[in-house]
C-alpha cells in the first residue's frame, strides 16, 4: 500500500470530492485567450488548469519533417514546474513524450491536414496546475484551440477518462483516485460517429468492467463536447 492511500474512496455513494460516481468535475472552457497564438483555449477542469495554443499552418523546421501531401501535425505536452506538488524539472520526460504522441494521434483523425501540404500545424499544451486527467484536459483544450485558429476539422474531439476505485466504475478520476485507484481509462471520440481516437488503459479491469468503464468514458466525452461547443459559441456565436 502506498503512503497516503485513503481507506475508502466512496462513502455513502459519494466520492471524496463529493461527486457521484458518474459525475464530471466542474469544467470551464474559454476560447481565444492568447494574443500571439493563432488559436488558443484555457480550461479549468476540476483542479486542472491548462492552456493550449495552436500555431499554423506555418513553415516546417526542420525541413525534413515536411510532407508533400499534407501538413504535419505536431503536439507538445508540457508541465509547468509548479503544476505539481513535487516540482517538475523543466524539459520533456518520458511521460510527457508519450502524452504528446497519443495527443497527436487523438487529433489527427479530424484535422484536414491535406488542405495544407508542406506546412506544420503545431499545438502546445501547457499544464499550469495538475489534478489528474491532464491528457484529456489537454486534448479537449487543443481541439478548441485548433478551432479558434480556424484550422479546418471534421469535428471537435472531446476526451474524458473513467476508472475504477473501491471496485466501482467512476467517471473522471481526480488525483487521489488516480494515484491510488485500480484503473484509469482515458478516451477521446469523434462525437458525430462515436469513433474512438484515443484509448489508453492501465490498471486491472475484468471484461465487463472494461465495457462499463469504456461506455461511461464515452458518455463523459459527450458532456465535454457540449462545453467545447459552448466555449466556441461564446466567442464566435452560432453552433459548430
Amino acid at each position: 500500500m502506498k503512503v497516503g492511500q485513503p481507506e475508502k474512496f466512496i462513502i455513502d455513494g459519494k466520492r471524496l470530492d463529493g461527486r457521484a460516481v458518474d459525475e464530471l468535475r466542474p469544467l470551464k472552457i474559454k476560447a481565444g485567450v492568447l494574443k500571439r497564438a493563432d488559436g488558443s483555449a484555457y480550461l479549468e477542469w476540476g483542479g486542472n488548469k491548462v492552456i493550449a495554443a495552436c500555431y499554423g499552418p506555418r513553415e516546417v523546421h526542420p525541413k525534413h519533417m515536411m510532407r508533400p501531401d499534407r501538413a504535419v501535425l505536431r503536439t507538445y505536452y508540457n508541465m509547468a514546474p509548479f503544476s505539481v506538488i513535487d516540482r517538475k524539472r523543466p524539459g520533456p520526460d518520458r511521460r510527457s513524450q508519450e502524452i504528446s504522441l497519443v495527443t497527436r494521434q487523438a487529433l489527427e483523425p479530424v484535422v484536414l491536414t491535406n488542405l495544407y501540404p508542406r506546412t506544420a500545424i503545431d499545438i502546445f499544451i501547457e499544464i499550469l496546475q495538475a489534478q489528474a486527467g491532464t491528457r484529456c484536459t489537454g486534448i479537449t483544450a487543443a481541439s478548441v484551440a485548433l478551432a479558434d485558429a480556424g484550422i479546418p476539422m471534421k469535428s471537435l474531439v472531446p476526451a474524458c477518462a473513467a476508472g475504477k476505485v473501491d471496485g466501482e466504475i467512476v467517471l473522471d478520476l481526480f488525483d487521489i483516485e488516480d494515484n491510488f485507484g485500480s484503473a484509469d481509462l482515458p478516451v477521446a471520440i469523434i462525437p458525430k460517429t462515436g469513433e474512438v481516437t484515443l484509448l489508453q488503459m492501465d490498471g486491472n479491469l475484468k471484461g465487463d468492467e472494461f465495457e462499463r468503464a469504456f461506455k461511461l468514458a464515452v458518455e463523459g466525452c459527450y458532456q465535454v463536447y457540449e462545453k467545447q461547443k459552448e466555449a466556441l459559441i461564446e466567442k464566435y456565436g452560432g453552433g459548430d
Partner: protein, 259 residues
C-alpha cells in the same frame, strides 16, 4: 519508425485485406512463427531473445541495490527501457530514445506493473533504505513490425529467467545466485491493426506502414485487462474495441503457452 512506402504498396496491402488475405499469407488472427531462447546473455541476471517472424528483440535484466521511492518505501523498483538501435532498421536513428521507443517501453512497463507480475514487496531489503532495482532493457535487433507483442514476450521471458544475485555486507555478489526473481504473473500484449475495414493481428512491417489505427491490449493470466494503447492516425469504432478485447484474451493465452 516511419518508413516511406509508395501509394501503390499501400493500395495493394489494403485491397488484399479487403479480400480477406494478408501479404504474407497468414490468417487475420494468426501470429508469425515465434521462437524464444532464454538465459543466453550471461552477464545479465536474466535474459531472453525472441523472434516473431523477422522481428528480433533481445531482453536483459540487471539487478542493482538502491534506495526505494519515498512513497513506496518497502517496494523494489522496475525500470523498463527500449532502444530502437539503428542496426535494426534503416530508419532508426542514433541519439536519445525516440517517442516510439519510449511508447513501446512504457506500454510494456505498464502491463508488467499493473498485472502485478513482479512481487515488488519481495524485493525490499531494508525498508526506506535498500531495495532491489531491476533494469529491464529491450534491445531491438531486427525490426519487422509489432514491437509491443514481441517485446512483452521477451520481457516476461527475461524476467522469468532472472536469478537474484546475493547481497551481503552491502555488496552485490553477481556470481552467486539466491533464487529466481519473484514473478507471479505472465502478462501478454496482443496488437491489432486496422487497415481499411479489416483488422489483423500481429502486423508485420509492411502492414504497420499502411495501418489506419493500432490497438494493443495487455492482459494478465486471469484474462483481466491491464493495459491498452491505441495508436495510429485513424480511429476504431466502439464495437471493434469491445470485440478486440475479447479476442485478445484468447491470443494472449496462446502466447503464454510458449513460455
Amino acid at each position: 519508425m516511419e518508413d516511406i512506402i509508395s501509394e501503390v504498396e499501400r493500395d495493394y496491402i489494403a485491397s488484399l485485406i479487403a479480400e480477406g488475405k494478408r501479404i504474407d499469407g497468414r490468417g487475420f488472427d494468426e501470429y508469425r512463427p515465434i521462437e524464444i531462447e532464454t538465459g543466453i546473455y550471461q552477464k545479465a541476471d536474466g535474459s531472453a531473445k525472441v523472434t516473431m517472424g523477422n522481428t528480433l528483440v533481445a531482453a536483459g535484466v540487471k539487478l542493482i541495490v538502491g534506495e526505494p521511492y519515498s512513497d513506496t518505501p518497502s517496494s523494489g523498483v522496475l525500470t523498463t527501457s527500449a532502444e530502437l538501435i539503428p542496426l535494426a532498421a534503416p530508419t532508426f536513428e542514433k541519439g536519445p530514445p525516440s517517442q516510439e521507443a519510449i511508447e513501446v517501453a512504457r506500454v510494456i512497463d505498464r502491463v508488467i506493473r499493473e498485472s502485478g507480475a513482479v512481487d515488488f514487496d519481495a524485493l525490499c531489503i531494508t525498508e526506506k533504505e535498500a531495495v532491489w532495482i531491476a533494469f529491464l532493457d529491450l534491445h531491438i535487433l531486427d525490426y519487422d513490425g509489432n514491437l509491443f507483442d514481441c517485446g512483452t514476450l521477451a520481457a516476461i521471458a527475461a524476467l522469468l529467467n532472472t536469478q537474484m544475485p546475493k547481497y551481503e555486507d552491502e555488496m552485490v555478489i553477481y556470481e552467486e545466485k539466491t533464487g529466481p526473481l519473484p514473478v507471479r504473473d505472465k502478462p501478454m500484449e496482443t496488437t491489432f491493426v486496422k487497415i481499411g475495414k479489416g483488422i489483423v493481428l500481429d502486423p508485420n512491417l509492411n502492414e504497420e506502414q499502411v495501418l489506419d489505427a493500432r490497438l494493443t491490449i495487455g492482459t494478465n493470466q486471469d484474462g483481466d485487462i491491464c493495459a491498452m494503447q491505441k495508436g495510429g492516425p485513424g480511429t476504431f469504432t466502439q464495437e471493434e474495441i469491445l470485440e478486440l478485447v475479447n479476442k485478445s484474451k484468447e491470443k494472449a493465452k496462446e502466447l503464454r503457452k510458449l513460455l
